[in-house]
């Protein structure tokens, strides 16, 4: 095995220190007893307690969760359809416009997406609230889903589907029992990506949320503007914890799925 040179060890250490120390400080100081965030006054879980008693934060968390689940589910259905259109549909009228609209939201500044959707909702007289945030989030995250799913579809062996059709499956059955299980990891990854994008979004939600619906990022942003607060540190720690557990378990599950798929393929060949 090759040894890492000193330069590389230093680069990795400094790099990961830069990426992780700010978050570690946040986590450590969320257990600080003092209200002064930068002065350590002993270990305490006081701020977690205050957080759980804070109705406004709990309401915002509930709105965020609902928006996340609905918008990412819609985005996954639409994004998977769009991926099939991009990879399989061949030529059709307006294809260039379609692929333009799929890729454009990926590079569009959030302030513009937010502003334009808000102006649409006002123009058609849709009252702003949970529904408008769901529509907005579904629209920009479906494009991310379609990128993830279409990269999987592009490497998919279409003859498998053909075989199912030859054996008497209807196209829908073939999709359900052959195609979907094979692209499932990409679809799930797309859903997770859409869900985190939705949980994370401040700018688009601020434009499209009315006074009746406040999401967690909007709430965090408005209290953080006034300065650092221990409650927000506690909330951040909870979010970082959930994300870390989620990402690590998702990657372990997908690793196992890949291993199993390989075993199945070998068993089928042998």
């Amino acid at each position: 095995m090759k040894r890492l040179s000193w330069f590389n060890i230093v680069a990795l250490t400094l790099g990961f220190a830069f990426l992780y120390i700010p978050m570690l400080i946040l986590i450590v100081y969320s257990f600080n007893a003092s209200k002064l965030v930068t002065v350590w006054a002993g270990f305490s879980t006081r701020w977690y307690g205050e957080l759980l008693r804070n109705e406004a934060f709990l309401d915002a968390a509930w709105v965020t969760l609902r928006v996340g689940v609905f918008s990412s589910t819609i985005a996954t259905v639409l994004g998977t359809m769009a991926a099939f259109v991009m990879v399989r549909a061949g030529r059709f009228y307006g294809r260039t416009l379609f692929s333009g609209m799929i890729y454009a939201p990926l590079v569009m500044p959030e302030v513009i997406t937010g502003l334009s959707l808000l102006l649409l909702f006002i123009a058609v007289g849709l009252e702003r609230g949970v529904i408008t945030i769901v529509l907005a989030h579904a629209t920009f995250s479906m494009c991310y889903v379609s990128v993830v799913v279409s990269s999987r579809l592009a490497t998919f062996d279409e003859s498998l589907e053909q075989a199912a059709l030859d054996l008497g499956c209807t196209p829908w059955d073939a999709f359900k029992s052959v195609t979907l299980p094979i692209i499932a990891p990409a679809v799930i990854a797309g859903w997770l990506l859409a869900f985190t994008l939705s949980l994370d979004d401040l700018v688009i939600a601020s434009f499209t949320a009315g006074p009746s619906a406040t999401t967690l990022p909007i709430k965090i942003f408005s209290s953080v503007r006034l300065g650092v607060s221990p409650e927000i540190n506690a909330l951040s720690t909870i979010i970082i914890g959930i994300v870390t557990v989620g990402v690590i378990s998702a990657s372990l599950i997908s690793k196992r799925a890949i291993v199993r798929q390989r075993q199945d393929e070998q068993a089928a060949v042998g």
Binding site: L12, P22, F98, I112, L117, D200, L202, V228, I239, V243
Partner: protein, 297 residues
Amino acid sequence: MLARRVLIGVPYLWLLVLFLVPFGIVLKIALSDYALSIPPYTPTMDFSQGWSGVKRFFAALDLENFWFLSEDDLYWKAYLSSLRIALISTFLTLLAGFPIAYAMARAPQEWRPALMMLVILPFWTSFLIRVYAWMGILSNEGFLNQALMGLGVIGTPLTLLNTDIAVYIGIVYTYLPFMILPVYATLERMDESLLEAAEDLGCSRLSAFWSVTFPLARPGMVAGCFLVFIPALGEFVIPSLLGGSGTLMIGKVLWEEFFANRDWPVASAVAIVLLLLLIVPIILFQRNEQKQREANR
């Protein structure tokens, strides 16, 4: 062929209504006049008067808001300073990201998935929280000043929070994964025997790096730079949390025009100009990607 029509039609219609039409509306409002009404602009399309209403609507549109943008110093300064901040922070991200990507590509094979995971993990964590984390570090009584004063490097605290420097740090920190991943992808594919060949031919290690590794990593570096530059240009959260009142960025100006001044026509005009500013880098980025795909084939 009904199934095919539904498959194409549903996402198409969705994007038309929720992506393309809103842009039409932004353009329309950018060409309208500010008014003290709800919604705060005129003219609004009035179909009840039939064709003459539509004609009057188009007659009332003009470029006034764009003239206003070009005459007011604030907007010029905001555009130029957004460009400057985005360029400088992209360069700094490249400086910070390249060594990390390089070291990852040289690390033993079995470490690499874990290292990749460590780079990707912050990307899944809330953007807002990652920016917020720096507020506590950079403030006057923050951790960085405490550490530097504790070490005796400085006597009085440095003013970092609410300056452009804090904005640079924030952008480098949040967008670093976007730089590391494409650079790592090109470096990992690189055939290391090329380096041995260069050294056998009498290159020093440094000149082998400059004449072999660096050019081979260029496509990844270009892709990474675009992935940082494009979103940084329209950034709102970082300048508003870490930047000061003197930090001008278009995203922030647009936000304030809309939410604080309630001037929708000017906010829409700012959005249109920001979009025009982004078109060139986006097209260049697409070309770079295309070239890469063809080269890999």
